[in-house]
């Protein structure tokens, strides 16, 4: 909004008052100050990350409850459990909350916020006040959307297709739209902060090819934040104007084109998938080498693949519109370009696999999540290619096949990576260790529960069950019941970590600085880190992922 948003005011020239670290235990960022004010007016990227973590967990719970309502309704085919209207509102809330208030900020705003300055050896992000502002903007947007939920809900689906959302829905669309628009600014400012930080704040010696892949992935994600989000902001502004003042730009009743909204919407919302996926890839690229004690295979290719994915993803949005009335030429072009996404994705997956080869593997909780991630992401990605195939798309577009596909990417991908990263860095965030046995058990619950929930939906989709159906033909009931049963296992898998992680905050074992023998500057500082991250300037190792086991060739290069 403002031109000076890029500048922090000169008031920050003074160092905030921080208690002097004592010899045996330096004051960490959690304990440096303890007033409510010191949390809600903090400019410490680590505290802001914790604010985000708490808020997105709350939104995850709201979204998950809505998902539970959806799965409950679908146990019976005839809609006997709830009205169509309730069902439609439930899946809309699930979609809106999960996409905009959980998945998009999930890894970047929490782990990215916390770890990027640590990983590059900086004291903070480039614009700490802007960072706090982003969180407040996020909460303001969330508030608007929650108002619409409290007033009676929205029933348009998270895609807000016109003219249903503008001229026909009688629900609280306007506050939801305003909320989502506002949240976009939070994304933009977070992305801006990350881009500038990664460019300018690296500690001496931290060259681009010494950066962890996590940072590369967040750089790519931030580019998407910057380049895609403003377009949906415009689309949503026009949508708000359409609903409030009937400006007609998207309204067929006045000669407007509803498909134009879909173009603008997917120009953002397809890249948004990579906002969700790329940070997860970054997390996995940290976990796998740490628990294989081996240098990441093909580091440069994985780094370039992140940037490659972020670029290619802008050329494929039309594959959401093959049967929505776009021109045949556009469909053919978008289809073939969509196949190009397979290239950088394959690079990532095969390199992770090669990293595990001949490593020294420890199957701790984060590694279990990482392995689950690789499997589910591969399935989700390849079924995406099915959907990009024109003739197959004509059959399975808008069926449960699509639902299964994007849940494999977003839950199997993003959520598993989020949980894996949460366990991996939990000692760093909190200074406490969680219960390893419970960690493994819940990882197993989530993996099994997820597959039981969503694999049947691939079959349902190919059988022709359309998505967003409150009622459905009876022949689909068996698979739907199976899916709902899986959802209960999945729910249990989500509840366990919430319990044992919170328990660990008070009763967990104190964590050492580097509990996993992992490499990376974030492990060089104490757990939890002091307010300005490092007590002394860290020295950057000459190669990234400087683990004991290295490919022979790469090692000789650096001798």
């Amino acid at each position: 909004m403002s031109g000076t948003s890029a500048i922090d005011s000169g008031i920050a020239e003074r160092e905030p008052h921080i208690p002097e670290p004592t010899l045996d235990r330096p004051a960490d960022y959690l304990h440096a100050q303890s007033t409510l004010r010191s949390w809600f007016l903090t400019t410490d990227h680590k505290r802001i990350a914790i604010l985000y973590l708490a808020s997105i967990t709350a939104f995850f719970i709201i979204g998950a409850v809505a998902a539970g309502v959806v799965r409950l309704a679908l146990v019976v085919p005839n809609g006997a459990i709830m009205t169509n209207d309730t069902y439609n509102k439930a899946f809309t809330i699930h979609g809106v909350v999960m996409v905009w208030f959980f998945l998009i900020p999930s890894i970047p705003a929490t782990f990215g916020n916390f770890l990027i300055p640590l990983m590059i050896g900086a004291k903070d992000l480039a614009f700490p006040k802007l960072n706090l502002t982003s969180w407040y903007i996020f909460m303001a947007g969330a508030l608007f959307t929650m108002v619409s939920v409290v007033l009676g809900g929205v029933d348009t689906g998270w895609t807000f297709y016109v003219p249903l959302s503008t001229a026909f829905s009688n629900t609280w669309v306007l506050p939801a739209l305003i909320g989502v628009t506002i949240v976009g600014f939070s994304s933009i400012l977070t992305g801006l902060n990350f881009v500038v930080t990664i460019h300018t704040m690296r500690t001496p010696g931290m060259t681009w090819f010494r950066l962890p892949i996590f940072v590369w992935a967040h750089y790519a994600t931030s580019l998407i934040f910057l380049l895609a989000t403003p377009v949906i902001t415009t689309a949503l502004i026009l949508l708000i104007m359409e609903r409030a003042f009937h400006i007609g730009v998207f309204d067929p009743a006045h000669g407007g084109d509803p498909v134009l909204f879909q173009h603008l919407f997917w120009f953002y919302s397809h890249p948004a998938v990579y906002i969700m996926v790329l940070p997860g890839m970054g997390v996995i690229s940290e976990i796998v080498p740490a628990f294989a004690q081996k240098k990441l295979f093909g580091y440069r290719f994985v780094a370039y693949a992140s940037i490659g994915l972020a670029s290619v993803t802008f050329f494929v949005w039309g594959h959401h519109m093959f049967v929505n009335g776009q021109s045949d030429l556009a469909s053919l072009a978008f289809s073939v370009l969509s196949f190009a996404v397979a290239v950088p994705s394959a690079v990532k997956v095969y390199n992770w696999t090669a990293t595990i080869h001949k490593g020294r593997i420890r199957l701790d909780t984060p590694m279990l999540y990482a392995m689950g991630y690789i499997g589910l992401f591969v399935l989700g990605g390849l079924t995406g290619l099915y959907l990009a195939t024109l003739a197959i798309n004509q059959h399975i577009h808008a069926t449960y096949f699509v639902v299964a596909h994007f849940h494999y990417i977003m839950v199997g991908g993003t959520v598993l990576a989020f949980l894996g990263g949460l366990h991996f860095w939990w000692p760093k965030f909190t200074g406490r260790m969680y219960n390893e046995a419970w960690g493994r058990i819940s990882a197993l619950f989530i993996f099994i529960g997820f597959n039981v929930t969503f694999f049947p939906q691939f079959i349902l989709g190919y059988l022709g069950m359309p998505r967003r159906y409150a009622t459905y033909p009876p022949e689909f009931q068996l698979l739907n019941v199976l899916s709902s049963a899986g959802a209960t296992i999945l729910a249990a898998g989500y509840v366990f970590p919430m319990i044992y992680l919170v328990y660990s905050l008070w009763f967990g074992k104190r964590a050492p600085a580097n509990p996993w023998d992992a490499k990376g500057l974030e492990w060089e500082t104490t757990s939890p880190p002091p307010p300005h991250n490092f007590l002394s300037l860290p020295s950057v190792p000459p190669v990234p992922y400087d683990y004991p086991i290295q490919e022979r060739e790469t090692r000789s290069q650096h001798r």
Partner: protein, 113 residues
């Protein structure tokens, strides 16, 4: 505090009372902005004339070309992209490239329907 001020901070000087050094300094600093200003006004005059008279069919092509030149002048001279390091130039270029993706890919639909 006085010591921190700029050298001419408290001087309210009519232009003619400036010393020759100051005049040279002023000329050096203001030459580019004023030339830019004149160039932009000139190009705008061309566009307004074309828009008001509509001298031939498809005059919009010429008008858009003139606008492109104006935008380039603002970016390169006023916003000093020509003096910036490559990274800033890349950022500026990236924005316009992405606009091209947005427009181009959308038009594959609209121009082929």
């Amino acid at each position: 505090m006085i010591g921190e001020r700029g050298p001419r901070d408290d001087v309210v000087t009519p232009l003619r009372s400036l010393g020759p050094e100051d005049r040279a300094l002023l000329r050096r600093h203001l030459r580019a902005p004023i030339l830019t200003f004149l160039a932009l006004l000139g190009l705008l005059a061309v566009n307004v004339t074309l828009g008001a008279t509509l001298p031939f069919a498809h005059v919009w092509v010429v008008e858009l070309l003139v606008v492109t030149v104006m935008v380039a002048i603002i970016l390169l001279v006023s916003m000093e992209v020509r003096r910036e390091p490559p990274l800033v130039r890349l950022f500026a270029g990236l924005g316009f490239f992405w606009v091209a993706i947005l427009m181009g890919m959308t038009l594959t639909d609209y121009l082929a329907r």
